[in-house]
Symmetry: C3
Subunit: 170 residues, 3 copies
Amino acid sequence: MKRLLVIGGARSGKSRYAEERLEALPGRLGYIATAQAHDAEMAARIDLHRGRRGERWETCEAPCDLAEAIARMAGRCDALLVDCLTLWLSNLMLGAHSLVEGREGLIEAVAACPVPIALIGNEVGLGIVPDNALARQFRDEAGLLNQAVAKVVEEVVMVAAGLPLSFKSV
Amino acid sequence: MKRLLVIGGARSGKSRYAEERLEALPGRLGYIATAQAHDAEMAARIDLHRGRRGERWETCEAPCDLAEAIARMAGRCDALLVDCLTLWLSNLMLGAHSLVEGREGLIEAVAACPVPIALIGNEVGLGIVPDNALARQFRDEAGLLNQAVAKVVEEVVMVAAGLPLSFKSV
Amino acid sequence: MKRLLVIGGARSGKSRYAEERLEALPGRLGYIATAQAHDAEMAARIDLHRGRRGERWETCEAPCDLAEAIARMAGRCDALLVDCLTLWLSNLMLGAHSLVEGREGLIEAVAACPVPIALIGNEVGLGIVPDNALARQFRDEAGLLNQAVAKVVEEVVMVAAGLPLSFKSV
């Protein structure tokens, strides 16, 4: 495994699939969490994921500075997991950060990453067009982000019902 | 065909695909409907599906007691179709039934089913995160349910635009 | 390439993929746009797509009379792109046109089209069931339309993260 993008819907088993792919690799594993525990619902979801991972994992939180976190963790770990791109995008938008700069910085960091890296991205564009403009912008940006990342990785996998399906394998 | 999970979006052709798979088998076919005709819209949808099926089908309604219905119908039919898991989940949640018990009972019934069985599950997790907490819980539970069923079946197929794509084939 | 249906979510890269498929063909290319620039957001989206296409493309707008536009443009171009079916459906519904007649007319036009034709359709049925009845009807009709078109084309491709996956190839 070199660079892997895992896409899929909510509760499709994306995180578990990516974790298993990384746990098949030797050495120290880095988990880069973009989630922030703003409320009890999100805190519970973070704890659920954290509890599933074992001793080999080192966790760092990177709600916005994702490129920096990837570069830093790549110096400490033998493989990285970014979970997830969609929450990171949401953090950028809520914090009024530049999406173009953020995306370009991320793509450079992924392309330059010296260790295997898996990135998780939600598919949010397969429902009815949302009523509000911010939600429409978000799903547009999420789709563009998945496309941009898909270009610089060797492997893209869609997960549904816990099962992987290959969209790209170089 | 032994055990088959058919996933896909609304009006993707899931039911028709599953019906055709069952109609390729010999003998008496059992249709286990989880839908309840609460309003005219749902009644029309049920009639549409029922009208498409022929004389070989025996129908039973199981809005909540799905495991029991599978066991009972398996004694009367040569193959079963459960349509669909997502409405059943919705019935459990609206009726304040235990989701964990319901899911475990279903998985046991599917694993123990002595005749071929096809189950239909909606994919509801590929749109924008819903505004209300109940909808978020529902799509989480629907995703977990599809994952759990996918583990105990030999075959998982995604249907889009009426066309099947294999995600699992043992 | 003969007849191609491209399905996928918002910003999945459907249009770009279809354009690239057509640009691999020789001759004059016809772009049949179903979008109408009702507001600035939609106008910006139309301009973005139009700017990407080159000199070989001739554009025509067909918000409702799609079958007529296909027949007419087929006499002037060597290959056609319809972008997209889902907006066209939305235009029919908003204009209170007959959906059955519209669909039947479209299917006949696609089946009779003497030059290669690609049609783009959004997948809108993979999110939570919408609250309002019109949105539910829309996603039902969009799903039925994709199914109907899928039947009369030789090739169906799903695009996600800019990557194609074949669902049908005759």
